[in-house]
């Protein structure tokens, strides 16, 4: 009876391990499959000319440069708008607000905002910024709509980063007669910066890959935007339209590859930043 139980336990243990391992492999395999698919189909199009020239005709030939410029521009502007607001809001939530119902409500609102479907955010951006505020289809309208999507993400990661700064570090500062703002600005935020940066970079990756929001706020016109009031077409939108038309699937895969590489680069940089932080504090 006893030995039977032991066999049973060992069996369960082995099974559990197998299932967990399988789940882990599936995650990696999913990423691998997507990368492989995009690389195999897109690598043929990936030439310097493809990256640095404009499309010709009905997008039959040529490169994708204006879409890269549009993507980088709108992402950078969205982060420029989002980051200060999100960081200050997180500082308020983590350091200043009396922890209670109000803070719980704000947090719940932020989490809800983060789960609003991006197509809804796109429609809101169209109504509020493109038409309401008269910004037309523009980088600025898209950046504002994107920042609604990114605000809760950056805010929550920043809040976590701030909370992870040890209590002892704050006390050391207060114990020297520092005010709250002195402690927050000179000890807490510098200590939390690497983790905040990681969150910001990951959010930038999210912004660069967003389709639904930008299509309704920035339009689909192929353009290399110079001013925030200019319109444009980002890579994801370009990819979607190419795939829809089915005229130039090679360019679609090429665009997909550039986009994936860009987002992957964001992720790698984010990891590197958080690694460097860990080794510096250790």
């Amino acid at each position: 009876m006893r030995s039977l139980e032991r066999v049973d336990k060992r069996l369960t243990n082995g099974l559990a391990l197998g299932v967990i391992w399988l789940a882990a492999i599936t995650t990696v395999a999913a990423l691998g499959a997507i990368l492989l698919y995009v690389v195999v189909n897109g690598i043929g199009s990936l030439t310097p000319a493809f990256i640095f020239t404009w499309p010709h005709g009905v997008n039959m030939e040529g490169g994708i440069w204006p879409t890269i410029q549009s993507t980088v521009y709108v992402t950078a502007l969205a982060m420029l708008i989002t980051t200060p607001v999100a960081v200050l809001a997180a500082v308020y939530l983590a350091e200043y607000a009396v922890q209670g119902r109000l803070v719980r409500t704000i947090r719940f609102a932020a989490d809800s905002l983060a789960s609003v479907p991006s197509i809804v955010m796109g429609l809101f951006g169209l109504a509020a910024f493109v038409e309401g505020a008269g910004l037309k289809f523009s980088v600025l309208a898209a950046a504002l709509a994107l920042s609604f999507l990114l605000l809760p993400i950056v805010m929550r990661t920043t809040e976590e980063a701030i909370r992870s700064v040890p209590r002892y570090a704050r006390w050391g500062s207060y114990g020297l007669g520092a005010t709250k703002w002195q402690t927050v600005s000179r000890i807490v935020l510098p200590s939390a910066t690497p983790r905040i940066t990681t969150g910001v970079i990951l959010a930038a990756g999210r912004a660069a890959g967003e389709t639904a929001v930008v299509i309704y706020t920035m339009g689909t016109m192929i353009n290399a935007p110079l001013f925030p009031s200019d319109g444009g077409r980002t890579m994801p939108v370009h990819l979607m339209l190419l795939a829809q038309d089915g005229i130039n699937l090679h360019a679609a895969y090429g665009t997909a590859l550039v986009l994936v590489l860009m987002v992957l680069a964001f992720n790698i940089v984010a990891r590197w930043v958080s690694r460097r932080n860990r080794s510096m504090q250790g």
Binding site: R170, W171, G172, Y174, G175, L176, I187
Partner: protein, 273 residues
């Protein structure tokens, strides 16, 4: 309990010397829990006062009442009077930041900031407006010397404070506090997480500092209290869930040789705690 000190012989040594802190009828609450009750104590200027007692007897909590560090813990409340040089530290118009500059604090866990040794020590003076490099250099050197750590770090001031050993970190933290020239230094079990050599150095510097600074140290090490302090206060929470009290307060020599209270005697002879 409250009249314990009042009942002492008026010619008692405790009435000699200036009082830096006077505490009357202090009660402290964590939410609804009354953690400390009826604390009366006088802390003498330019002396070392030790708080002893078993874990959880509220000695660290009481220490934090003296510079309002407990204000930072949500849901806590303090009743009664705490006076520094005769002024109520919980009175209206008192800025806790000013109070904490005058009443510095050292924690159990050394807590250098993630910056260079130099910047750690210069942090306080910079907070309070010192900008000139020469002034800062002088304060940094002077403070590190007084904290007994100058010789070990004088050539590596640009290195991160967190790269030092635990004991050096603790002395760096002491230097950091000394740099803002506090009148009182509160030390919350400063030696419990550091190596014996550093313990010796910290105890030495306490003896050197007390000419200019009033020191209060919380320790669970009775030998340390006996070695370093002039006065000792014994705290005890007699029943779990009840408030802790100050059982006895006296000159260290007296308290350790001829304690008046049976509970003090039981504690210092190692019968509990």
């Amino acid at each position: 309990m409250t009249d314990k000190l009042a009942s002492q012989d008026p010619g008692d040594v405790l009435s000699a010397g200036a009082d830096k802190f006077t505490v009357d009828g202090l009660d402290f609450f964590y939410g609804a829990f009354n953690a400390l009750s009826g604390i009366d104590v006088r802390i003498k200027e330019h002396a070392v006062t030790a708080f002893i007692g078993p874990s959880g007897c509220g000695k660290s909590t009481f220490l934090r009442c003296l510079n309002r560090m407990n204000d930072l813990i949500p849901g806590t409340r303090c009743e009664g009077k705490v006076r520094l040089d005769g002024h109520d530290v919980y009175g209206p118009g008192v800025d806790p930041a000013d109070l904490r500059r005058r009443v510095g604090m050292i924690f159990q866990q050394p807590n250098p900031f993630p910056m260079t040794i130099y910047d750690n020590v210069a942090y306080g003076p910079r907070l309070h407006g010192m900008r000139k490099r020469a002034d800062l250099d002088a304060v940094v050197e002077e403070s590190l010397k007084r904290a007994n750590v100058w010789k070990e770090v004088k050539d590596i001031l640009g290195r991160g404070g967190l790269t030092l050993s635990g004991g050096q970190q603790q002395r760096l933290c002491i230097a950091r506090v000394l740099a803002v020239e506090p009148e009182v230094l509160l030390m919350d079990e400063p030696c419990s997480a550091i190596d014996p050599t550093s313990v010796q150095k910290v105890e030495d510097l306490m003896a050197e500092l007390k000419d200019r600074i009033t020191i209060v140290i919380v320790t669970h090490n009775m030998q340390q209290a006996a070695r370093v302090s002039d006065y000792t206060a014994f705290f005890l929470q007699e029943l779990a869930g009840e408030a802790a009290h100050l059982i006895e307060f006296d000159r260290t020599a007296t308290l350790f040789t001829t304690p008046r209270d049976r509970r003090t005697e039981d504690y210092i002879t190692g019968r509990f705690g």
